[in-house]
Amino acid sequence: MNAPFYKFNLFGFDVSLIIAFAIGIGFGFMLERGGFGSARILAAQFYLGNMRVLKVMFTAIVTAMLGIFYLSVIGYLDLSLIYVSNTYILPQVLGGLILGVGFVIGGYCPGTSMVAFSTGKIDGLVYVLGVAFGIFVFGEMFPMLEGFFNSTDLGKQTLPSFLGLSYGLVVFLVVVMAIGAFIAAEWSEKKFADRNPEKSI
């Protein structure tokens, strides 16, 4: 049996929802254990005092990338069936900026706000309500935004196809970039140690 299991019909839609639920719970648990339920640790990322977010995210990216790459190379995973969403460059840049500003102000991203809420934090609840309200407003305004939403469509882009490099080289470069980021993060945490909320908790 080859992966991806869902697309090769190993289980149906109903079971896929149950599996997604289990993965979601596991993801939330790992985020909480990683300290992502605390707005102060998350926001400290932007003041360079605590680089936990960058380290966790880069670790996840490298782990997933190496896993997908090697499973595909040995023929276990059909990479052509992995969903790649289209790149809409301008809407995604703007959306990223809005999410970033919200992240600095509120101290959470949508996923970690759920984690904070589930551990009983009031600010997590406020944030979740804000996310729901934002989704509602966006949904209601969608007919007005639709033109921009679908603009500057670059199609399905991956780094190897966009840069014209071999897949293996991109994997190597991302690994090197991650290790560089880890070294820089360790350095920055030492330099701005006075801004690390973990020291004051």
Binding site: N9, V62, F69, V73, L77, L81, Y167, F172, V175, A178
Partner: protein, 217 residues
């Protein structure tokens, strides 16, 4: 060397392990290469002999009327021909674009063109890419027009055949066609204009074929 390695923290050991995997990736080859599929020619031949890879036009008409939605109907002709006339609920994927299409391997896919030839080529393309449920609309649009849109009265038909024809008359009307009650009207048939393609929005309740499956976060 051994001492140096054992003195490193777990984080640093993992980083070195990750770096080694990254370095090895340079020479590991193309990840898309491992996914090519060996064609099982025996299985392909058997499915052709048994006609298990074909869907009859009358069955398809029945599915559309009953608003079945467990299949994807693919029109392999050019976009101009598609906009002139097509079977309701079909999506247009010209045969050259088939390898890049977004059809899923676990879907039931019914292919059609004017006749069986292009559909058979497309069938083979998809089968060789590992698609499981690929079917050909037997006879293609030519037979669809002949049997569904413009069915003819059976000459000296038995009672059963005539009852069947009465049913087909209704089906023809449903799809905007017209039954040919005069059995000598082959020439007239040519003059009858095909129903317009906006048929599917007015008469058929199923949403149009192209269902964009959204994924991701």
């Amino acid at each position: 060397m051994k001492k140096f390695f054992s003195e490193l923290s777990t984080n640093k050991k993992l980083a070195i392990f990750g770096f080694m995997l990254g370095l090895f990736a340079l020479t590991a080859g193309n990840p898309y290469g491992g996914t090519s599929i060996k064609v099982n020619e025996k299985e392909l031949a058997l499915s052709t002999v048994g006609n298990s890879d074909k869907v009859l036009v009358t069955d398809l008409a029945d599915w559309i009327i009953k608003a079945k939605a467990d299949y994807e109907l693919v029109d392999l002709r050019s976009e101009e021909k598609y906009s002139e006339y097509t079977i309701p609920n079909s999506q247009c994927i010209p045969i050259a674009q088939l390898p890049q299409s977004e059809l899923f391997r676990n879907q039931k896919i019914v292919l059609f063109s004017d006749d069986n030839i292009d559909a058979a080529k497309a069938w083979f393309i998809l089968k060789s890419k590992g698609y499981k449920g690929v079917y050909i609309l037997d006879g293609g649009l030519d037979v669809w027009k002949e049997k569904v849109l413009f069915p003819k009265t059976p000459i000296n038909g038995s009672e059963k055949e005539i009852a069947q024809f009465e049913k087909m008359k209704e089906v023809a009307t449903y799809f905007g066609g017209q039954a040919q009650t005069d059995s000598s009207s082959t020439e007239i048939k040519q003059q009858i204009s095909l129903p317009t393609t906006n048929l599917n929005s007015t008469q058929v309740t199923v949403p149009k074929g192209k269902k964009k499956k959204r994924e991701g976060c």
